[in-house]
């Protein structure tokens, strides 16, 4: 009995570790969601696709035997640039057309990348060769792999970087101003179009980084890989409080851990249902998210 209990404790710790690794990836994708939503109130359904694009670019760069410290920035910059192109070509013209057209456009962009990707790269998944030897560190009965450590480390670093960027730089201030009131920001001489593009760039490059990380973690990438994590990351963003940077990270981690606990202690069958149930509960009871403050509609 007590032996079993100790095992259970170890197992739960292990699930937490696995959950934090998974959750870090959600968190990175959620950051982009949250920033884009914060600034133009658009659920960017195509956001998961930038994660997919990042993963493929990462795959290509790794196959060129580039070192990881070059793979990450390059993959991030390229997926960011693709996002900016998409934003300029389709989101910008539709910005004032209302919510539903914008959402549909985002869906269209998402479908375009998924199916275009299948045609261009092929529908089957590609394997991601790790450029280093994966080591496992064992503490008691809990193990952590070097890839898991890299995932958590990179996420933590990028989150800190983002936080610094938003809070302590001029462009960050401009982003906050634009998100708070775009017209006013425009009047204050901020080039809001540029800021919005920059936000897309930033969000997509984080998603791109997450794509590379997930490729390294699971050894597999495919053109449809962005769909489910995209949705999950959105849940994470809402869970933490949409528009709030630490909220997205918290939401991602909570969701990752919750999913792994469901799989570990219950069945995988209801893992996605639990994720959606968490979403619905948070929407019903604290729609502003874990870290958000309630806001009412101004009358």
């Amino acid at each position: 009995m007590s032996q079993n209990f100790i095992y259970l404790c170890y197992d739960i710790l292990q699930y937490l570790v696995n959950g934090l690794a998974q959750g870090s990836i959600y968190a990175l994708v959620a950051l982009g969601y949250t920033m884009v939503y914060g600034i133009i109130k658009l659920i960017n359904f195509a956001h998961g696709e930038f994660y997919m694009i990042g993963a493929f670019i990462g795959l290509y760069l790794v196959s060129l035997k580039l070192p990881l410290y070059l793979v990450f920035p390059l993959a991030m910059i390229s997926s960011g640039l693709i996002a900016v192109i998409v934003e300029r070509l389709v989101y910008k013209p539709i910005r004032y057309a209302g919510k539903i057209p914008a959402l549909i456009t985002a869906l269209g962009a998402s479908l375009f990348f998924q199916f275009g990707g299948q045609l261009v790269i092929g529908a089957d998944s590609k394997s991601f060769e790790l450029p280093y030897q994966d080591k496992t560190y064992i503490l008691g009965e809990v193990s952590v792999t070097s890839t898991q450590l890299i995932i958590m480390g990179v996420t933590f670093f990028l989150m800190l970087f983002l936080w610094w960027l938003v809070k302590h730089t001029k462009i960050g201030k401009a982003m906050r101003a634009t998100s708070f009131n775009r017209d006013a920001a425009e009047l204050m001489g901020i080039n809001t179009d540029m800021i919005i593009s920059f936000t897309f760039f930033l969000g997509a490059s984080l998603a791109g980084a997450a794509g590379v990380l997930v490729g390294m973690y699971t050894n597999t990438v495919n053109p449809l890989m962005g769909m489910i994590p995209g949705l999950k990351a959105f849940i994470a963003a809402v869970l933490g409080g949409i528009g709030i940077i630490p909220g997205a990270v918290l939401g991602g981690l909570v969701l990752g851990v919750a999913e792994n606990l469901v799989v570990g202690l219950w069945v995988s069958t209801y893992r996605d249902a639990v994720a959606f149930a968490i979403l619905i509960l948070i929407l019903l009871f604290k729609p502003s998210g874990l870290l958000g403050r309630p806001t009412g509609e101004k009358v």
């Binding site: 057209p101 549909i104 456009t105 375009f112 069958t269 619905i280």
Partner: protein
């Protein structure tokens, strides 16, 4: 030529089924302004409820009576789900409601996937073949009649006022929550009937027929036609059901690229005509939408 009709008639039946789905979603999204992305969930509930009736409960009576009962079963089950989902979710607005309904739609699918009695991942097979094109269009006409009259009456006006401005509507004595729930329940009930007709037409149901993608496609139908326009919803349903089939005839390259073409068409439509083909207008056939003498 007979072969051609064997192909065309089931296709037209499907068109009818999607018209019903689009009309229902149009009531929720277009007329009442509540952004739902979970319509495939209601469709699934209706289809599976009707399928279960056909498989387990149907007595030996003429097919058309059985079909009618089955449609009622699908309708009522779906409406109850609409009520159960609507009451908690309709407190949410806009994007949040969309995501919550999306979540519910997926949960419904996951639950069906894991219910052995409903076939689980095998799908529900051997559903009796009761649907024919006559009954599909009988329902289509009935629903068009109901919706058109509904819209011309006070309840329709109230529902539109909710879309236009929920707070103002509430302040004018409209119980907005009641009307939002009503829109979702009626929309769900219609999706339930569409599900029943679908189940008894296809004779086979699989949870993957009811993914989020299908909610999106139904949404596209009403947006293509013009959100809020009844004839627009019908037009959208016709186009988006026929178009993929037409692409089958246009050679393999186009067929391969058709989902990409689809997505580009979608974006192009939003860029050039974000309010759909008809906007909020109606095509006036038979003077159906003539405004009263005002």
């Amino acid at each position: 030529m007979s072969g051609f009709f064997d192909y065309l008639i089931p296709l037209l039946s499907n068109v009818g089924i999607f018209i019903i789905l689009a009309l229902g979603l149009n009531l929720i999204n277009g007329i009442c302004g509540q952004f739902s992305l979970g319509h495939a969930g209601f469709w699934a509930v209706g289809a599976y409820a009707a399928g279960a009736y056909g498989l387990y409960f149907a007595p030996e009576i003429p097919n058309f009576i059985n079909l009618f009962i089955s449609c009622l079963v699908g309708m009522i089950t779906s409406a109850l789900f609409g009520l159960a989902i609507g009451i908690p979710c309709l407190r949410l607005r806009g994007d949040y409601l969309a995501i919550a309904t999306l979540g519910f739609g997926e949960i419904i699918r996951i639950v069906i996937m894991n219910t052995d009695k409903l076939g689980g991942p095998r799908g529900m097979t051997n559903i009796p073949h009761w649907t024919n094109i006559f009954w599909v269009y009988a329902w289509v006409i009935l629903f068009i009649f109901i919706i058109v009259n509904f819209l011309k009456g006070p309840h329709g006006r109230a529902m539109i006022s909710v879309r236009e401005d929920e707070i103002a509507s509430e302040s004018m004595g409209i119980n907005t929550f009641k009307y939002k729930t009503m829109a979702v329940v009626i929309g769900a009930a219609m999706a339930g009937v569409a599900g029943a007709l679908f189940a008894h037409g296809q004779q086979f149901l699989h949870p993957n027929n009811f993914t989020f993608m299908w909610s999106v496609i139904i949404l596209l139908m009403i947006i293509l036609g013009g959100l809020g326009s009844v004839t627009g919803a019908i037009l959208g349903a016709i186009i988006l059901t026929i178009l993929p089939e037409l692409l089958r005839f246009m050679g393999t390259t186009i067929a391969e690229w058709r989902m990409v073409i689809y997505s580009l068409l979608l974006i192009a439509l939003m860029l050039w005509r974000p309010s759909g083909i008809l906007g909020k207008r109606e095509i006036n056939l038979l003077g159906l939408f003539k405004k009263g003498k005002t």
